[in-house]
Every structure is written in C-alpha cells, then in structure tokens.
Subunit: 432 residues, 2 copies
C-alpha cells in the first residue's frame, strides 16, 4: 500500500513517554526534555472543572460565550483589542494551530529553530514548511529580510507560502524577539500578503514584568492570528484547552469562518467542563494571577540556575528572558567533545547525558536545526518535584533552589555537564 506523508511522534511527547518508562524501571532521571509544567492545578481552578462535570452538551463550535468573552478580556488587558465573536476555542492551542494551517492552506514559513510540531503540522495540512533562520538572540521570529528572500524564492519556484508562524516568547530558546524585529516581521508579512500565526502560549511567562513581548497583532492587526492557552501559565496541558484570536476585517472574518468550519469537522468543540474552567481562568481573578506569578518566579529562578550551569561549561547561551527553556550551543567546545567523547552533534550530547547520567534533554535537530548542530534544549519545568506536595512546596518556597529535590537535580546536571566538557574521559572511579 502506498504511504502518505510520513508522520513521526512529537519529539517532546516521545521523550516524555521514554522518560516515564525509565522512571517506572526504577532509574533516576533528570527530566529536561519536555516542557510540560510539573505543578499542581490551582485548587480554585480544579473546583471549577469539578463543578462543571455535569455539562455534557457540545455547545457552539467556537466555544461558549462565557469562554470567548473571558478570552477577549484577557487579550484586552494585554493591549490587544479583541471581539468575542472572533475568538475560537479548541482542545489545546496545538489543534488550533493545525486547523489554522488547514484553513489558510498553502506552505507555511516557520522560524529555525522552532517548536517540534509546526513543520509536522504544515505537512499534515498538505503544505510544506519553509524554514527561515531567526536573528541571533531573537528566537521565534524569522529574520524579516531572510523571510522576504525565502518567500520570493519559494514563489518563483511555484510554491505557495501563505502564512508565517512566530513564537513570542520563544520555545525552544527562551528568548523574546525585540519590538523592532516584530515590527519589521509584521511589515514584511503585509508586503508578502502572509497571514501571521502568532503562538503566544508563553506570553505570561516573561520573567521581568517590564519586558513584555510585543505581538505582531499590534503592527499587522488585519492579518495576525494570536493563539494561546492555559497549558503553560496554569500548567493544565493535560486538560487540552486553547483559544485563537482572529483579526478583525475581511481577511479575519473569512478566516474565522473557515477555522470554525475546520473545527466543526475535526473536533466539534472543546470539552464543555474544561471550557467552563477556562472561562474562569481567562477572567483572571486574583488567585489565578497570583498562581501564574508564583509559577513565573519559579520558572525564572530554576531556569536561570540551570542556564548558569550550562554557561559555565563554555557553551554559548543567550540570556533566558521567558518560558522555562534554555538553548545552549556547544559549538565552542566542538573539538573537545569530539576528542573526548566522539560526540559530534546534539543527538550525541543528548545520548551521552541520558545514558551516562540520566539527564534527558533534546537535541537542536528536534527543532529544525541541522543534524550537525551542537545545540540542545533543556526544559526546567519538570524539576519541581514528584507529586503535588513537593511541587506545591516548590511553588511557595522563598528559595526553591534550596529544596533538596531541586538541589539534587541541579547537582546531577552539574556533574553531567562537568563530565561532558572534561578534557579527558572520566575514570571509572570518578563516574561511580
């Protein structure tokens, strides 16, 4: 039987499951692969879901009026005008991004590096991903000049790019593109007649409150779709809930109709009890804001501590300003890694750290980098403990780095990195 588009399991989800298997086999692991947020559900949010368990109707495809109004308010408080009639709910921002690619059609420009699923989704939606490099230290936004060249070249070759994805703040780099770069990107998208799909799922996880990411929706409001969800700020990825804000105007209204059409044929609606809880969360009562702020502080402290360990090895690392990710580049240590360990790529680094130290992270190749790249992505959001008690303690600790389980993970990362960049292989005695 002929085979359709190849599909591989999402690298982060696959790493997650591999980790769970290692753990259940009794191995000690430091889980730095998946960005799943290992924190308990805010009790008030949990109660909203429980209280809505009797809701069994589909409701509107685009989401309940309460959820859409709350999401619109959420965006308005962040400086983006939003019309509840142009908000669409989905079972996660991931399916919304996929449905947008289906609704827009054509090929999709994506930044390099970028989240593991954009390119796979573009292929599943029948298009192709057109990778465009980001500017140094400004992950998530394709370099606007390179975007122009790539789109013109693609069109000259008969390809049909119709959208560009940006990630603000960025996964995998933990950086935030500058306001100037975002403005230039928006201008380029308008010149090239591209829809901008702005994945802002990390927008509440910018460490310094004075340091907000600017949405391209500010500069190209007529063509920018913004997506977000509760997976990162409130750690309820397993609930599967996201929202998209469609642009106002003819392009946006047409796209809204197409997106709702796709949603109606692919998923019908988002789980009704989850929608009820999400409506509460997007309204941002004080306890929700406090919980998000506490998680943000915890991510900032832990991510910066892990980043310092990587930076101390001599790897290149742009300071992390948001999310729970860091994206070091071991290029300055290429010769030493090859000499000492025979390691010549990110996959080699990841394999060495996992097999020898149980430190599990992802190679840059999972994010669209060349296989030869020595970049890796480390996510710190699974270091907060096992079980809700440890995790709740991490969330409220004045200095979470002193909690023994976090301290232990950091020590294990430090030891693993010391071994990785040693200028000779460790002796048997040093390893044990």
């Amino acid at each position: 039987m002929p085979q359709p588009v190849p599909v591989t399991v999402s690298a982060t989800l696959a790493a997650d499951e591999a980790l769970a298997r290692r753990r259940s086999a009794g191995e000690a692991v430091v889980p730095l692969a998946s960005g799943e947020i290992g924190l308990p559900v805010l009790p008030e949010l949990r109660e909203r879901l429980a209280g809505a368990a009797g809701l069994n109707a589909y409701g509107p495809v685009a989401g309940s009026p309460e959820l859409r109004a709350a999401a619109a308010g959420y965006w308005r408080r962040r400086g983006l005008d939003a019309d509840p009639d142009l908000v669409v709910s989905g079972p996660g921002s991931k399916p919304l991004l996929f449905a947008l690619m289906l609704a827009v059609g054509g090929d999709v420009v994506i930044p390099v590096p970028s989240w593991v699923s954009y390119a796979a989704q573009a292929a599943l939606a029948g298009g192709r991903a057109i990778p465009v490099a980001t500017r140094p230290g400004e992950g998530g936004v394709p370099d606007p000049e390179a975007l122009r060249a790539a789109v013109r070249s693609a069109r000259a070759r008969g390809r049909d790019p119709r959208s560009v994805v940006v990630t603000l703040p960025d996964n995998p780099t933990g950086t935030v593109a500058s306001p100037g770069t975002v403005r230039e990107l928006a201008r380029a998208a308008r010149e090239l007649d591209l829809v901008v799909i702005s994945d802002e799922i990390y927008c509440d996880l910018v460490f310094d409150p004075a340091d907000r990411a600017v949405s391209p929706a500010v500069h190209a409001p007529e063509r920018t779709v913004v997506t977000t969800g509760l997976t990162k700020n409130l750690g309820v990825g397993g609930w599967r809930t996201g929202v998209a804000r469609l642009p106002d105007g003819p392009l946006g209204r047409d796209l809204h109709q197409r997106l709702v059409g796709v949603a109606s044929q692919v998923w019908s609606s988002t789980a009704a009890p989850v929608q009820a809880a999400a409506a509460y969360a997007f309204a941002e009562p004080p306890e929700v804001l406090a919980h998000v702020a506490a998680s943000r502080r915890l991510h900032a402290t832990t991510t910066r501590a892990v980043a310092a360990l990587f930076a101390a090895t001599g790897a290149e690392l742009t300071p992390v300003r948001a999310t729970c990710y860091l994206y070091p580049d071991f290029e300055p240590l290429r010769a030493r890694l090859a000499d000492t360990h025979g390691v010549r790529d990110g996959a080699g680094i990841a394999a060495l750290l996992a097999e020898r130290h149980g430190v599990v992270l992802l190679p840059g190749s999972a994010f669209g980098e060349p296989d030869t790249s020595l970049r890796v992505r480390a996510a710190t959001s699974r270091l907060y403990g096992e079980g809700d008690a440890e995790r709740a303690a991490a969330l409220t600790a004045p200095d979470p780095l002193r909690l023994p389980w976090i301290r232990d993970s950091l020590d294990r990362v430090k030891a693993a990195l010391t071994d990785l960049v040693a200028d000779r292989p460790p002796t048997r005695g040093e390893l044990s």
Copy 2:
C-alpha cells in the same frame, strides 16, 4: 489570496446553533436536526470526572493505560479481541476518524447516505470522498458490488482509494446492515486492499438485544479499525472522548504508529480528567449498563413513535432498528408536495417544516444525497425535555410518550406533517 479546500460548518452542528438562536429568541421549536443526546450525565460518571479534576498531565498520546485496558475489555465483551496496546484515545471519535484518514492517506470510499463529516474530513485530509450507494434498507455499508466497481474505476482514472468507511449501526438511516452484507463488504475490502474504518459509535443503541450489528472486524480482522465513544450511549458528546481499536498484524501496527504520530501532532492527548471518567465508563459497571439500557429504551420508544408519524404520511421508511434517527423518503408524495407547496427537494421540506411549524430537521442532501432527493433525517434525541429534571423523568418514565413535553413535540410533528402532505394548502384558520 488563493483559497484552500472549501470547508463548511458541519450541518448538524450548524443546525444546532441555529436552533439555539431560535430558542433564545423565544420561538417554540421541535429539534429534530442534531443527534446530540439530550439526557443528563449519569451521576456516578459525573463524579468520576469531578474527582479527576486534579489530573493535569498529558499522559501517553494513545491514552492512559487504564482507559486503553477498559476500552479493550469493552470490545472483548462484544466479541472482538482487543489489545490495549492497539487502542488509541482521542478527543471524540470524530478527530480519530479524521486522524485515521490522514494516517491512511489517499481517497476514502464513503456510503451514501452517510454522516455529514466523512466527506468533509476526507477533503481536509487531502483526499477525496468516493461515494458508493448502500443497499436498500441497509444504510451505512456501501454495496459491496458497487464498491468493487467504484474502486476499480477510480483506480483506472488515477485516483488512489485506500480506505472505506462504514457506519454500524447507521446514521442517518437508523438501520443496521445485514451480517451477509458486512461479510461481503469485508471480502471486497480485502480483495481491493482497502482499510475498513468501522464507525460503531451507535453499537450500544440497537433496540432489540437479539439484533446486534456485526463488525467487519470479525471478517477482515487484519484491516479493520473500529471507532467508538461515549457520545451516544452515555450522552456525553460535550466531553469529547472516543477510542479506536487498531487491527493486530503488520498493517495494524504500522497504522497504529502513524495514527499515534498524527495524534501527537494534532491534539497531544485527550483531556486527562475525561480519560479517567471514560476508563470508568468503558469498564461498564452495573450502573453504567443500566443507564445505557434506559437510554436505549427511551430512544427506541420515541424514535418508533416519530417514525410512525412519518410513515402515516405515505413517506417510505425502512423500520428503524437502532440509533435515534429515522430517514423517511417523500418520493411517493413528490407530485403532491410540488403541487401543494412548490416543494421539490429535501431542503424544501426542511424549510417548510422549520419556518411554518418550528420543526427542524435536515435534508438528505446534508448526508450526500442528490439535492433533488426528498429524503430527510429526523433525530429524536433532543425531544426528552429541557433541563436535567425533565430529561431524567423521560429516562425513567414507564411510558415516556405520555410525558406532556414529549407528547407536545409529537403532536407538533404530527400537525406539521399533516400540513406538509395535505392535498391543498391549509387555510389561515387551520394554521393558527
């Protein structure tokens, strides 16, 4: 900007939303369009969801081990061998069907008439639907002889059919294909090397327990994927939960891997609290079985009563054996409908009944019939009352047809049909 594949909103979901608008405008309506089950959630099931509200991790893409084991047990109790490792959970059986079409690729044979979303999903998945008529009175399964001819002809024209969808029991007709037809279909699929996608979401809603639908998985176990969910038997469509059972053997294992790949890139996982509740439901403790049995009795009683009203008009109607649907054909009354009302198609019947009587149903054209067809589909699952109290009363009533709100709906349907098939237009006095 060039346009991608056209997408229209699912006809049933669109009708549902139109109905909600009419209702909120204070109009009296008899909702026969959508097959959403208007019954309350079983209290024990609701409690399971509420109790699982703290589950916020993604868990495995294919679903929790508990859910997969429970679903496998569910199928084994229905005579189908099932391996939990070949079960895949999704946020509804709808997204599973779509993901299967993506995972299999190519064009998709669908029965005519059939559920509104198969053809739309095939197009979104990059293929085309190849419609094949069903045998009279045996909806849901393409006539095996016609299937052979259609697939051979499609291949001769360079098209690439790789799968055939069947619906057992059938929506929209409420019929169940005979065991002989299912066996022939399975044989034809093997000859033609087609994957069989067997949508068995109504399998618990066969009215007579002696009258079970036979799955093609019995006859073509190596190539049949079975999907189901809790939307119809337990009325929790708004929770969005479904499961797929992949075939054992090389084809099935390859398809399983591809399906999990698609799932990981499109939706990640099913809402974790919903999975916990679904694991409980698929294990079928006595209270679940009793609730399903009560709903089945209610559907049977109500659907047969509505069917009798349609049959009394002279419309052709195969006896309904399952689901909550009936699918009358007004062809014998074509001349009268044209003379009296100027009605020449199913859409005309639906418009007349809706506008003049508030009786909302769907024309056969929504299910792939020619526009000129005088078939319509009526769903009775929304007649059980407004709010949980009326609906719970309907579920336990010894004779639900005597409940005033159901009685009233039936009377309104009867009056509407009397008007429809009258041999002269009603006078003003008769209408008021």
